[in-house]
């Protein structure tokens, strides 16, 4: 499984070429990071496939963690215009979604993971690089959840399943950049800027009905200077083979915390856990049977834990906005072409009004998600907005998926069109906790 990421040849290079040819890259001073990614890609070697989990090494002894400035809000105005840099990232992600994710979606679902070509193309896009501060070898200059959301939206438009797999490690990098101490960043965050970044995910969800992420069942008990962690995490992206997990656990005497868990520990059991949709994300069940961790495994504080829930939900909202837009983009042309009773079915209000509602709700979902993300970047309280966006998107994403299949009728139910897959993917909203992080 490691092998797929070591093959750097393939479709990815063509994408990078287009990325490198873009004038915006120069304008925004992104040439260097892009070239750096290319350099790292080209020197990658073909290592032997190994099932062994990654070993993390602490490489330096910095005293203070690297923190990226939040992007801010640009002043006083209500505005829906992405910054130039965001527009560039959006455009690059859109091309990637259109040219790499869409054509690969069907096979990725069948194989329950993105192909190695998709992984390497994503690596060249530099998603993880952007999450790692420059001082740690990455290309990240500022922290913007809006940018993360815009990228997730585009990838979600391409294929939510693969997008989930590709973005899960990026989320872990964001978490380390935001909340990691110097030692944690040295040990883990640097790795995300390397040419073979770790498989990693934020594991919050548990296999329980009416699960409440704020009160995890996973327990970390104090034993001397150690934490003994016992519990079970569900539907974790890359779960069966992730090298690194950020696990949500109720720490004795502290309350809920994020814990860094290296999965080469034999007391971590990783198994596939396929679900209704998002099958390309390699969802997995993770059992922790008395995993022993030191205090250095605790990532951030109580506030970090609470923010992780909200930022994860907003990443899912962004993915859903993109996927819902994909449904609308497919349904519109379909109903104007499909004939019944001697005319396009779009001429009937029963069909047309459904499409109108879909268009309204996609836009509303996007605005709700953007507002919460932008409040984060501006340093404003964003919990209320995240809860409302999540509630809204969970409800309307499900409805959009259902309406999408409905508008295509029988054609929507067969796998000839991707709407049935989107229907299954969109139901993940409202269920998933963690997994991603905007």
């Amino acid at each position: 499984m490691d092998e797929r990421k070591r093959d750097i040849q393939g479709v990815g290079l063509s994408l990078l070429n287009r990325f490198a040819g873009s004038e915006v890259v120069d304008k925004l001073g992104l040439r260097k990071p892009a070239e750096k990614a290319l350099y790292q890609a080209s020197k990658a070697s073909f290592g032997a496939a190994s099932m062994a989990r990654r070993r993390f090494k602490s490489v330096s002894q910095r005293l203070r963690p690297e923190r990226m400035e939040r992007a801010g809000d640009g002043g006083d105005l209500f505005d829906l215009t992405p910054s130039d840099e965001q527009a560039m990232m959006q455009e690059a992600a859109r091309r990637f979604a259109e040219e790499v994710l869409r054509p690969a979606a069907h096979d990725a679902e069948a194989h329950a993971e993105p192909s190695k070509d998709v992984w390497s193309a994503a690596h060249e896009l530099g998603l993880a690089m952007m999450a790692v501060p420059e001082a740690l070898g990455g290309a990240g200059a500022e922290r913007s959840a809006v940018t993360s959301g815009l990228v997730a939206e585009q990838l979600g438009w391409g294929d939510p399943g693969q997008a989930c797999a590709l973005l899960a490690p990026v989320g872990v990098a964001h978490a380390l950049a935001c909340w990691g101490d110097a030692a944690q960043q040295d040990r883990y965050l640097r790795a995300f800027a390397e040419d073979t970044p770790p498989d990693a995910a934020l594991a919050l969800l548990e296999p329980a009905a009416a699960f409440d992420a704020a009160h995890p069942g996973c327990r970390a008990e104090r034993q001397g200077n150690n934490w003994i962690v016992t519990g079970e995490k569900a539907l974790v992206p890359l779960g069966p083979f992730a090298d690194l997990l950020i696990v949500g656990a109720d720490c004795e005497g502290l309350g809920p915390r994020l814990l860094l868990v290296e999965t080469r520990d034999e007391r971590v059991l990783q198994t596939p856990e396929p679900g209704m949709g998002l099958r390309a994300a390699s969802l997995g069940r993770v059992q922790l049977h008395g995993v022993v961790l030191g205090d250095d495994a605790v990532l951030g504080d109580a506030d970090s834990y609470a923010q992780a829930i909200d930022l994860a939900r907003l990443a899912w909202c962004s993915l859903a906005v993109g996927c819902a837009q994909a449904v609308l983009d497919l349904v519109g042309p379909y109903v104007t072409e499909r004939q019944a009773f001697g005319e396009p079915i779009a001429y009937r209000q029963g069909v047309a009004f459904t499409v109108a509602d879909m268009a309204i709700e996609v836009d509303a979902m996007r605005l709700m998600t953007w507002r919460a993300l932008a409040r984060h970047d501006a340093g404003l309280e964003f919990h209320r907005e995240a809860v409302l966006a999540h509630r809204y998107c969970a409800e309307h994403a499900m409805q959009l998926g259902s309406d999408g299949v409905q508008m295509l009728g029988g054609h929507g139910f067969v796998t000839e069109y991707p709407v049935e897959r989107w229907y299954r993917d969109l139901r993940a909203l409202g269920i998933m906790e963690g997994g991603l992080l905007a």
Binding site: T336, Q349, A359, L367
Partner: protein
């Protein structure tokens, strides 16, 4: 840069509107709900206050006169201008009382039409007037192309004949903007709007309607019998341009629909806030818990309603933002009106239910808000008309294809 917060520069004005809503509208809200057709004399004083505000703030007026289009390129970068300003102000006013907000002297929908399509000479001549809007007829509501009122050119005048219903503030206003056809055979392109001063011979107030809600606002029927108005009172071009269709008169709606959406946002916020208070008094904790499954059903419902409310609010602000920045916003204005219109009734009706007897009885205003909100999903284009507009735009269909 993406930011979806209300600009701080509008806070003083929004606060003023809120003070008016809280200190003037709310205390007399029930009184004029009961005393339908009585003139709320408290509003005269308020209108004088608003005029003063407008005069002192040329960039951002508080009234419907603010819903004009920004000229392209008149300022560097992004603008938050009068469209957003008035949307915010009307949200506050309707948090107080929709009917009273609709009765503000000199803030009629006809005023918005004058601002949107009048020429400079007309804008000056009709400055300071209070104009109602007369479109609907007994036989034509949503199908406004089917109106039968005619305007016949006679020398320097037009002679208007027909009957108009559902004219908001029609009894109290001093002018009415009337839609009439220059030639019934031509259809849409022949429909023009005319400013008719009250007291013009041949213009008769037939009756005032009794309504389910917004009773503080009068709704009039006016008959025009050989009513003669100067040709200079025609708004827009007098030519029948069949290539332009309905465009001229319809463009008013792009500016007024976000305004009506804002009204729904305002009244439903009132219901949400009051429900939260009454639930708290009943010992039911509400808030933004990450865990919806272990909340009470009432708390979870309130959060779901608030999410719908927030969606409508943001769609409304977007439509206003686009207007302020000179972007075509017909689609987004209709999206905002459709969403806000329907959540306005849904939220106010559901809040009445959540609050039980307190929600249904007249001790509280919740039952009144549930009655008031319904009109907001009807006038300035019904829910169904908005969906038609959205669907046609999204699907690229004409009105003959998607009927």
């Amino acid at each position: 840069m993406i930011r979806l917060e209300e600009p701080r520069k509008f806070r003083p004005l929004v606060n003023q509107a809120h003070q008016v809503a809280a200190e003037i509208f709310r205390p007399i809200s029930r009184k004029y709900d009961r005393a339908e057709h009585a003139y709320p004399k408290e509003l005269d004083m308020l209108a004088a206050l608003l005029d003063g505000l407008n005069a002192g703030n040329s960039q951002a007026g508080a009234g419907v006169g603010g819903v004009s289009r920004s000229a392209d390129g008149d300022a560097e970068g992004v603008r938050n201008g009068s469209n957003m300003n008035i949307v915010l102000a009307f949200t506050e006013l309707c948090w107080g009382d929709v009917g009273l907000a609709l009765s503000l002297p000199r803030q009629g929908l006809g005023n918005a039409a004058i601002v949107a399509v009048a020429n400079e000479e007309q804008k000056q001549r009709f400055a300071g007037c209070w104009a109602g809007m007369a479109i609907t007829e007994p036989g034509a509501g949503s199908d406004s192309a089917a109106i039968k009122t005619t305007a016949t050119r006679d020398g320097d005048d037009y002679v208007i004949n027909g009957e108009k219903i559902y004219i908001t503030a029609g009894g109290r206003c001093d002018h009415v903007v009337v839609w009439a056809s220059l030639d019934l055979k031509v259809g849409r392109p022949a429909i023009k709007s005319f400013v008719v001063p009250k007291g013009t011979p041949g213009m008769d107030l037939v009756r005032l309607d009794h309504k389910m809600g917004i009773r503080a606002s009068d709704t009039a029927t006016i008959r025009f019998s050989d009513c003669r108005v100067p040709a200079a009172n025609l708004l827009g071009s007098p030519e029948i341009d069949t290539s332009k269709g309905f465009g001229g008169v319809m463009q008013t709606f792009d500016n007024t629909r976000p305004l009506v959406a804002a009204m729904a946002v305002g009244v439903s916020r009132a219901a949400l806030e009051r429900s939260r208070e009454l639930l708290a008094e009943a010992g039911i904790e509400t808030g933004y818990s990450t865990d919806r499954w272990r909340q009470t059903a009432a708390a979870a419902e309130l959060t779901a309603l608030e999410a719908e409310w927030e969606a409508a609010r943001l769609l409304t602000l977007r439509a206003a933002w686009m207007a302020d920045n000179g972007q075509p916003n017909s689609l987004q204005a209709s999206m905002a009106k459709a969403k806000a219109g329907r959540i306005g009734t849904r939220i106010t009706l559901r809040c009445a239910e959540l609050c039980g007897a307190l929600g249904y009885g007249e001790d509280e205003l919740l039952e009144k808000w549930a009655r008031d909100s319904k009109i907001l999903d009807i006038f300035e284009g019904t829910q169904q008309i908005q969906l038609l507009i959205v669907a046609r735009r999204v699907l690229g269909l004409t009105s003959s294809q998607l009927k």
